[in-house]
């Protein structure tokens, strides 16, 4: 299932929709699993009346986790060697996100073939919410 070096080339693109109409409940699920119970993410009253945001919004790490699902679906399980993101816009309930990986380089490191990828996740209006990069070990 893992990506094979013989089948990947620079410029290859893989993308998938990683959430559709993001629910407040999914944000609650992420809070419960990750242990980050910051009320900014799950408590509409606190988020709007105390913190001054238009609504609760997703943990950056939820967007990174959903984007990571795209990466593991593409490169295979246990293949990532690095994964970095910058959170470039907040993700509010109702968002539909598409995560995309673009192969930027294929290189050999100590006998292993490594693919470097640019990572970008955008919402339904085309606003980029995550910009990052990842590297994965390829199968021969």
């Amino acid at each position: 299932m893992a990506l094979q070096a013989s089948r990947v080339k620079v410029g290859d693109v893989y993308q998938e929709e990683v959430c559709n109409n993001l629910s407040r409940t999914q944000i609650v699920q992420y809070a419960g699993a990750s242990g980050d119970y910051n009320p900014l993410h799950t408590d509409e009253i606190f988020a709007t009346q105390v913190a001054g945001y238009p609504s609760v919004f997703a943990h950056g790490m939820l967007s990174m986790g959903m984007t990571g699902k795209m990466l593991t679906n593409y490169v295979g399980d246990g293949r990532l060697t690095a994964y970095s993101v910058r959170f470039t816009a907040q993700v509010f309930p109702g968002a539909t996100l598409t995560a995309k990986a673009t192969v930027t380089e294929i290189r050999e490191v100590d006998g292993d073939m490594i693919a470097d990828m640019a990572v970008s996740t955008t919402d339904e209006e085309g606003v980029e919410v995550i910009r990052g990069k990842a590297s994965a070990r390829l199968d021969p």
């Binding site: 242990g35 939820l62 679906n73 399980d77």
Partner: protein, 163 residues
């Protein structure tokens, strides 16, 4: 932050995978996972973030018997101090992971965190932005480094929105 014991548990991986909407059976089904080249249930790439559950003093978890800053009878359970952050203790600006070894079901991790760089920047809307980095090393029960996680947090003078 220091975590003395972060046990990698099946139910925790299942709940985490559900929360990110990941249906990959390697996170749910031990029999399936045993048939893959990983040989066992493994942790998703961002799972180590949930070591917060095992950090005794993690500030974004309500503590039993203590006031919580989220809403209750009133919009916040604590008296709001003047100044400080826009709310909620700052925001997450960047996250970086380097993966050294796989994390599998049954592993017992420890984590140690040290501060990294810090810097300020003038924001477009939120006033002054104060960035700070923290570097966490996760090790397994054999003492081997499995993941290096670098987080960058940002504190703002006012609520920061993308609008």
């Amino acid at each position: 932050m220091a975590v003395k014991n972060f046990p990698i548990e099946a139910g925790h991986i299942m709940m985490f995978a559900r929360s990110i909407g990941d249906t990959n059976q390697i996170y749910y089904d031990a029999e399936h996972a045993a048939s893959t080249d990983q040989g066992a249930i493994i942790a998703p790439p961002t799972f180590v973030q949930s070591s917060a559950q095992f950090e005794p003093d993690y500030f974004l978890r309500p503590k039993i018997g203590e006031a919580w800053f989220g809403s209750g009878k009133t919009p916040t359970g604590i008296t709001k101090k003047e100044g400080g952050s826009g709310g909620g203790g700052g925001l997450h600006a960047e996250q970086h992971y380097v993966y050294h070894l796989p994390i599998q079901l049954g592993d017992q991790l420890t984590a140690t965190t040290k501060p990294g760089k810090s810097w300020n920047k003038e924001g477009r809307r939120g006033g002054k932005l104060m960035f700070s980095e923290s570097v966490t090393e996760y090790r397994n029960q054999k003492g081997e480094l499995v993941v290096t996680a670098t987080g960058v947090g940002v504190r703002t003078e006012h609520p920061a929105t993308s609008e």
